[in-house]
Symmetry: C2
Subunit: 303 residues, 2 copies
């Protein structure tokens, strides 16, 4: 893989973030460690339009995390004509490197969180950053929602006052299930195609990664000892069904990865450990479940 | 809804089949009954490109069936330009009526089964039948696979000797997960766009529906008392994750239904009651699990 200086810097940054984040998460779990798998894609010759590799790290069956994945990858793909059109570019090879993280805690009181930070570069030299982070609670704690969004706003505000409102709105628009008329969770920030000042966005993306543990882990600490039972677990599994629906029906990264012959096990690490689909839903009857649905149906301003 | 005589006949046939099949399934379950929900789509005015309704019947928490759905529907949809192109037609309204059935038994020894029979008619008068049935076992019993396929072959052979080999191959091609390099199950028959002799295909589709209980229920009877434990249930849930992946990533009916504003609860009744995704799969180690994977990776001739 030949690399531009900024591709090299981005790749290095994402590797370093993977190291620091998995270290913090192991400390937070207190029981289990991440298992690492290094992988390389087979050459494009075998009908595979991708080449490259990655470092997948998974923690399963932990004390706090039922399933946690923190993946790093750096991959060259052939840009399909359809995707090229969407990106406003001619079909060509795209280099993508990024870190992708999904944490599914055991307790229904602790929200699932997702973060993705990525750098893309075309053959013609065009390059940009993208990414975001969003929170998917099973029970709504307003204090947590306010904390998460306030921290993201203050992070964005260091760069540009217009970013948080824009990235927050884009997040609400992106993580949406039209067939359920529900948001996936309480949102966060989502940004893509950030090219204006590459250096500025590089600093922003790095700061997102560095701040992540300090933003999410206090929520884990606050909620992890809360009591829950079979009812709450069942509700969590039903909501996790929605998470599956979003990722398999709508998530661009998942669909693009699978379509272009990416590594299935690493891409689908985002899926929850267990999910449930019932036709006759015993819920929205409970007040606490209804409270969550209310904010999923009508996204709010939290910060 | 204005209807042609054949649309009327097809609709009547599918309603009648829903009645007879749910009756047989209730007898087979022995504990629970189907709950019926009549529904009507909101008028197209609300951004919905569909109008029509249906009769959804669901049995949950049964003795034999953990979740069983047998749906009838009759719907007018606007054919999107993209779908019109695929069907080789100009964009216009399409009338579709059909019966769709997915049975998820509780025991991992009893296979999941799916059947869909449908009739489509365009504004310009073109009309055709489609459908199929396929079996998704969690453990392989060769006797059951041979029975299922032999019964389907004999059914097809009553019409045309060339149908079974063709429809069997189409089934293997359709129910395939490229990202897993696995078939969804051991196949069955799949046919679409059958227009040559509409009357002949009507007789065929009706016979598929009438014969269904006599083909599937003997398998249920043979397996339902077999012993199983936690290990087999976990394997079933992992395999059900694949079922979810197929339906949300690939199944045309599901995607078309959701995209065009179909009734979400009825469309997604096909999803299993519970599914599991593990990164570190404890399986293919067991001989019996490996035996299933072997035939999913290399589809066989059973009849």
């Amino acid at each position: 893989m030949k690399q531009s200086p900024s591709a090299f810097a981005a790749e290095h940054c994402f590797r370093t973030l993977q190291d620091s984040i998995t270290r913090e998460l192991e400390r937070s779990d207190g029981r289990n460690s991440f298992v690492e798998e290094l992988w390389e894609l087979a050459p494009a010759a075998e009908g595979n339009s991708r080449a490259g590799g990655g470092r997948t790290r998974i923690l399963e069956g932990g004390a706090v995390y039922e399933k946690a994945g923190v993946n790093f990858s750096a991959v060259h793909s052939d840009l399909s004509p359809r995707l090229a059109e969407r990106l406003g570019a001619v079909p060509q090879t795209v280099y993508a490197t990024g870190i992708s993280l999904v944490l599914h805690p055991r307790s229904p009181m602790v929200p699932t969180v997702h973060m993705n930070l990525r750098y893309l570069e075309l053959e013609n030299g065009e390059a940009w950053f993208g990414g975001g982070t969003d929170l998917t609670p099973y029970y709504l704690f307003r204090e947590d929602a306010v904390h998460f969004h306030t921290a993201l706003r203050s992070l964005c505000d260091q760069f540009d006052d217009s970013w948080y409102p824009r990235f927050k709105r884009q997040c609400d628009e992106y993580f949406y299930l039209p067939h359920r008329a529900e948001a996936r969770g309480i949102g966060g920030i989502f940004f893509d195609n950030c090219r204006d000042s590459l250096e500025n966005f590089f600093r922003f993306v790095r700061l997102c990664g560095e701040r992540f543990p300090g933003i999410y882990l206090p929520i884990v600490e606050r909620r992890k000892a809360d009591a829950w039972g079979e009812r709450e677990k069942r509700w969590q599994e039903i909501r996790r069904g929605r998470y599956v629906e979003f990722n398999l029906l709508h998530d661009r990264g998942t669909l693009f990865g699978l379509e272009t012959g990416g590594r299935t096990a690493s891409i689908l690490m985002s899926l929850p450990p267990a999910a449930r689909w019932q036709y006759q839903d015993p819920f929205p009857e409970g007040d606490r479940e209804r409270e969550l649905l209310e904010v999923l149906r009508h996204p709010k301003e939290w910060a």
